[in-house]
C-alpha cells in the first residue's frame, strides 16, 4: 500500500496572520486515483494546492510525494519531480504563442540542451541554445510534435490557433492551454484547480470527457471543482473542506448525503430547500 501512494499529506497547516487557511489536513492519494476537493469559496482549497506545489510553504505538517519527503521544496524542484498544476484564475503566458506556452510545460524534460552538469550547466545551456547541435534540434522538433499531439486532444479548439499569442484566446481556450501545458510536463501527479470555471455546459462536458480520459490512462489527479455533477461522475473519492479543515471524506454519494457537508457547502437555507426539491 505504502509504495503505491502517490501523495501523502500529514497535518498540513498554513496560517495567514490570525486566519488558518489550511488546518491540519491529512490526505492520501493512491497511484491512478482521482480525488476531488470541494468546499465553499475560501475553504483553503487553492492554498492547499499552493502548499503541495511549493508556491507556498506550510507552517506545519509534511508533504510526501512517492514516499519522499518534499515538504517546502521549491516549485521548480517539484515540477522536475513530476507535479504539474493549473491555476484557478488561469496563468497562461499572455505574449507567448499557444505552441510556446505548451512547450514551457515540457521544460523540465529538456535534456540535450540542458545538460545536468554542476556549476557550468547554465553556461553550457546558453552555448547549446546558440549553437544548436543536431541533438538539440532533434529534441526541440520531437517536443513540437508532442505538443501538436497534446493539442489534438482538444479537437479543433487549439490547433488552428497554435501560433496565436495566448492573450488573444477566449477564456475557455486559455484554460485548455493551461491543461495542455500541464500535460506536456508528462506529470505523475496532476492538480487541476477549477478547470471548468467560466465554461458553458458544452465546454464543461468536453472538459469532463478529457479528465475522464486522463484518468483512464492511469494519471493520478487531484481536482478542485465546484460543479458537483462532474465531481460525482469522475471522483474515486471526495474530500470536503470548510474553513481550512477537512470535514468529510469518502465516495461521492456518501459525502453528498453528509449533513455537515450540506450545511457547510450550501448553507442552512439552501440545504433544506434542496432536500424538499429532491
Amino acid at each position: 500500500m505504502a509504495q503505491s501512494l502517490m501523495l501523502s499529506l500529514r497535518g498540513l497547516t498554513r496560517r495567514f496572520g490570525g486566519l488558518t487557511a489550511v488546518d491540519a489536513i491529512d490526505l492520501d492519494l493512491a497511484k491512478g486515483e482521482l480525488v476531488s476537493i470541494i468546499g465553499p469559496n475560501g475553504a483553503g482549497k487553492t492554498t492547499l494546492f499552493n502548499l503541495v506545489t511549493g508556491l507556498d510553504r506550510p507552517d506545519d505538517g509534511t508533504v510526501h510525494f512517492e514516499g519522499q519527503d518534499v515538504t517546502g521544496l521549491s516549485p521548480e524542484r517539484l515540477a522536475a519531480e513530476g507535479i504539474a498544476r493549473t491555476f484557478q484564475l488561469g496563468r497562461v503566458f499572455g505574449n507567448l504563442s499557444v505552441m510556446d506556452n505548451v512547450l514551457i510545460g515540457a521544460h523540465t524534460r529538456l535534456r540535450a540542451v540542458k545538460p545536468a552538469v554542476p556549476v557550468i550547466g547554465p553556461l553550457l545551456e546558453l552555448g547549446l541554445a546558440l549553437l544548436r547541435p543536431a541533438s538539440v534540434k532533434a529534441e526541440e522538433e520531437r517536443l513540437r510534435e508532442e505538443v501538436k499531439a497534446i493539442l489534438a486532444r482538444f479537437g479543433e479548439r487549439l490547433l488552428p490557433r497554435i501560433d496565436q499569442p495566448a492573450y488573444s484566446l477566449s477564456y475557455a481556450n486559455r484554460r485548455r492551454v493551461e491543461i495542455a501545458r500541464a500535460l506536456a510536463l508528462k506529470p505523475r501527479l496532476l492538480l487541476l484547480d477549477e478547470p471548468t470555471a467560466g465554461m458553458n455546459p458544452t465546454e464543461t462536458a468536453e472538459m469532463q470527457g478529457l479528465v475522464a480520459e486522463l484518468k483512464a490512462e492511469g494519471l493520478t489527479i487531484l481536482l478542485i471543482e465546484h460543479k458537483l455533477e462532474m465531481v460525482m461522475r469522475l471522483s474515486d473519492r471526495v474530500i470536503v473542506m470548510d474553513e481550512g479543515k477537512k470535514i468529510a471524506e469518502g465516495p461521492g454519494e456518501q459525502v453528498r448525503g453528509d449533513p455537515k457537508v450540506i450545511e457547510a457547502y450550501l448553507g442552512h437555507g439552501l440545504a433544506t430547500e434542496r432536500e424538499s426539491a429532491a
Binding site: 496572520g17 508556491l55 484564475l89 503566458f93 505574449n95 521544460h107 547554465p122 541554445a129 544548436r132 510536463l185
Partner: protein, 607 residues
C-alpha cells in the same frame, strides 16, 4: 564622544528631510502601487522655487514655506492629472516609465531655466549654535525637525480624522472595494499627489538651506534616498517610511563618521540592497503572502510584432555596410558610430528589460564595467584592444550578473530601484577605489581601437568595426530569442509564478539573460573607452541608462531590430534637426512620455 552626539543629531535631521520625501512616496505607493520616480524632481522644483522666493522676492521664512508647498503641490497635481491619470487602465509598466519620463522632463526644465551651475540658498535664520549635551544644534536643525514633526502630525490628523483621509486609507487598503463604496479614487489620487508634492518641495527647500547650495543633481539623489527610506520601512507604510528615513539618516551619518564623506551614498544603497535581499517587503512588513494571480500579459503591452522580411533586413544592413564607400561626411559616420554603440547597449537592455522583464535603470553601470576593464587591460597589461574589449564584455557579464543577482527575487518596480541603486554603487566604487580605477582623476591615454595589430583610427574603419560588432551581437541575440531560452525568458516576464511551477528557475534564467546582455553592454563600453581615450566615473551615467530605455521602448520591448532602429532614430534625429545638446534629454523624456501614452508597444512591437 561629543562628536558622536553631533553625528546622531545630524543623522536624525537628515533623516527628517528624507522622511518628507519618503512619506510622499509611501502615500503614493499605498494608493496607486506606484513608485513615483518623479518625487526627486518635485523636491528639486521646491528647492528652486525656494531660491526664487528667498533671493529674488525676499519673502519671509513662513511665507517661503507656504509658497514652496503650494507651488510644489500644483506641480504634483499636474503630474497626476496629465501624466498618470490617462494611464490608469494601462499595463503595469506604463506608470513606472511615465514617472521616469516626467522626472527627466522636470529636471531638464529646471536646468534650462536656472542653468546647471549650483546656487546658494541662504537660510534666513540666525547663524547661532546652541550647546546640547556634548553636541551643538542650530536653528535650522530645529526648523527641519519642527517641519518634519508638524507635517507628520498634520498628516496623521488628516488621514485619521478627515473624510478625504479616510478615503485615502480605504483606497490604499483595497482600491476596488473603495471605488465600489463610492470613494472617488481620482480625488484620492489628487489629494495624495498634492500632499506628497508639497512635502517633497518643502523638503528640497530645507535641504538647500541646510547645505546652502542647490543644484540639479539633487533630484536623482533625493529620489534614490526617498525610495531607499520608503523601501526600508516597507513600501506604502507611512509610519514605516518615517522610521526608515531616520534609520537611513543615522546609518549615513555614522558611515560618514567612520569612513568619510565620499562613502555617504554607498551606505544608503548598501542598506537598500541588504533590505531588499533580506526583507523585500521592508522591515515592518506584515505576514508573507503569495502575490495575487495576474491577468494575462499585464506587465507589458500585448502586441504582435511587426514582421520585417529577412531580405529587407539584409538589404538595410548591406546599405549601412557600404555607406562609407560613398562620399559621406565624417559627421554622418561619427553620428552613426554613436548609434551603433548605443545600439549595443539597447540590445542588452531590450533583452533584460523587454524579453525577461527586468526594467533596469542602472544599465550604464555595465558600460562602465566594460570600459574600465578594457581600458585597464590594455593600459596595465598591454592586452591588444580587440581582446581587451572582449575582456570588458566578459567582465561586465560576470560582475554585472553577480551584482544584480540579489534583485532576482524582486518584481516590477523593485527591480528598477535595485538596478538604479546598484548602478550608483558601481559608480561610487569607481570613484572611491583609487588603487584600481584611479578614482576621480579617471583613466587617460587609453590606446585606440586595434584589430590583429592594425590600429583603427580612421572614422571609416571605426564605423565598420562598431557596425560589424553590433550586427554580430544582434544576430546572436536573434538566435537566442528563437531558442528555448527565448521562450523561457518571455515566460518568466509574463508570469514568474507559473514559470516556476513549470520548473523554470528564476535565478538561472535571469542570470543567463544578464550574462548575455552584460556582454553586449560591456563590449559597447569597451569600444567607447578606446574611442574616447579618456573615461572617468561620470562618463557612463544615468542619462545613458534612460536614453537606452527610451530607445528600447521606442523600438518595442524585446525587439532586436527595434533596438537598432530606435538607436538610429534617437541619435540621428536630433542631429538631423540640429537640436542643441541641452534640449536632447528633455526631448528623450517627452518621447518616452508620448510613447507610453500612445504607443506602449513601440514602433515595431513587443516580442
Amino acid at each position: 564622544m561629543s562628536s558622536w552626539l553631533d553625528y546622531t543629531i545630524n543623522g536624525l535631521i537628515v533623516g527628517n528631510v528624507y522622511a518628507l520625501v519618503a512619506v510622499g512616496l509611501a502615500l503614493i505607493f499605498g494608493v496607486s502601487r506606484l513608485i513615483n520616480f518623479a518625487q526627486g524632481s518635485i523636491y528639486l522644483v521646491g528647492a528652486y522655487i525656494g531660491w526664487v522666493a528667498v533671493v529674488q522676492l525676499h519673502t519671509p521664512l513662513p511665507l517661503t514655506i507656504i509658497v514652496v508647498a503650494v507651488a510644489a503641490a500644483i506641480v504634483g497635481l499636474i503630474i497626476e492629472r496629465f501624466g498618470l491619470r490617462p494611464l490608469q487602465n494601462s499595463v503595469r509598466i506604463a506608470p513606472l516609465l511615465a514617472t521616469i519620463g516626467i522626472s527627466f522632463v522636470l529636471d531638464q526644465l529646471v536646468m534650462l531655466t536656472f542653468s546647471p551651475n549650483p546656487r546658494a540658498l541662504p537660510s534666513q535664520l540666525p547663524d547661532v549654535r546652541f550647546q546640547l549635551g556634548g553636541g551643538t544644534i542650530g536653528p535650522l536643525d530645529l526648523l527641519i525637525a519642527g517641519v518634519g514633526l508638524t507635517s507628520a502630525l498634520l498628516l496623521f490628523v488628516f488621514l485619521r480624522y478627515s473624510k478625504l483621509g479616510w478615503a485615502v486609507r480605504a483606497a490604499s487598503q483595497d482600491r476596488d472595494a473603495a471605488m465600489q463604496m463610492g470613494v472617488d479614487v481620482n480625488r484620492v489620487n489628487q489629494a495624495v499627489f498634492g500632499i506628497a508634492a508639497a512635502l517633497g518641495g518643502v523638503s528640497g527647500m530645507l535641504v538647500g538651506m541646510y547645505y546652502n547650495q542647490i543644484d540639479t543633481a539633487m533630484s536623482l539623489q533625493a529620489t534614490l534616498k526617498g525610495v531607499v527610506a520608503e523601501v526600508v520601512g516597507g513600501a506604502g507604510n507611512v509610519p514605516g517610511a518615517v522610521i526608515g528615513s531616520l534609520l537611513l539618516g543615522l546609518v549615513e551619518s555614522y558611515g560618514v563618521a567612520v569612513f568619510g564623506t565620499s562613502y555617504r551614498n554607498l551606505f544608503a544603497f548598501l542598506l537598500l540592497v541588504v533590505v531588499l535581499v533580506l526583507r523585500p517587503n521592508g522591515l515592518f512588513a506584515s505576514a508573507r503572502q503569495a502575490p495575487p494571480e495576474p491577468l494575462t500579459g499585464t506587465f507589458i503591452a500585448p502586441s504582435r510584432p511587426v514582421r520585417i522580411p529577412r531580405w529587407a533586413l539584409a538589404v538595410a544592413a548591406g546599405g549601412f555596410a557600404v555607406l562609407p564607400l560613398f562620399p559621406v561626411s565624417f559627421y554622418v559616420l561619427q553620428t552613426l558610430i554613436n548609434a551603433w554603440l548605443l545600439g549595443m547597449l539597447a540590445l542588452s537592455l531590450t533583452l533584460v528589460a523587454g524579453t525577461i522583464g527586468q526594467v533596469s535603470l542602472g544599465h550604464a553601470a555595465l558600460l562602465a564595467i566594460g570600459a574600465y576593464t578594457s581600458a585597464l587591460l590594455s593600459l596595465t597589461f598591454s592586452v591588444p584592444a580587440g581582446l581587451a574589449i572582449i575582456g570588458g564584455g566578459l567582465m561586465s557579464a560576470a560582475l554585472g550578473t553577480a551584482l544584480i543577482s540579489p534583485s532576482f527575487r524582486l518584481r516590477g518596480h523593485y527591480v528598477s530601484i535595485a538596478t538604479l541603486a546598484i548602478g550608483e554603487i558601481v559608480s561610487l566604487v569607481i570613484l572611491n577605489w583609487e588603487g584600481v580605477t584611479r578614482g576621480p582623476i579617471g583613466i587617460s591615454g587609453i590606446p585606440p581601437l586595434s584589430l590583429f595589430g592594425y590600429d583603427l583610427i580612421s572614422p571609416t574603419s571605426i564605423y565598420w568595426f562598431s557596425f560589424a560588432v553590433m550586427v554580430v551581437l544582434a544576430l546572436l541575440q536573434g538566435r537566442l530569442l528563437t531558442s528555448h531560452l527565448g521562450r523561457s525568458f518571455r515566460a518568466i516576464r509574463d508570469d514568474d509564478v507559473a514559470a516556476r511551477a513549470y520548473g523554470l528557475s528564476l535565478n538561472r534564467y535571469k542570470s543567463l539573460a544578464f550574462i548575455f546582455g552584460g556582454f553586449a553592454a560591456g563590449v559597447s563600453g569597451g569600444i567607447a573607452a578606446h574611442l574616447y581615450s579618456y573615461i572617468n566615473h561620470e562618463t557612463f551615467n544615468t542619462q545613458q541608462s534612460i536614453l537606452a530605455l527610451t530607445v528600447v521602448i521606442l523600438g518595442g520591448l524585446g525587439n532586436v531590430v527595434g533596438a537598432i532602429v530606435g538607436s538610429v532614430a534617437l541619435v540621428g534625429l536630433p542631429e538631423v534637426f540640429r537640436i542643441a545638446a541641452e534640449y536632447r534629454i528633455l526631448i528623450y523624456g517627452i518621447v518616452l512620455l508620448l510613447l507610453v501614452r500612445f504607443r506602449p508597444q513601440g514602433l515595431l512591437g513587443t516580442i
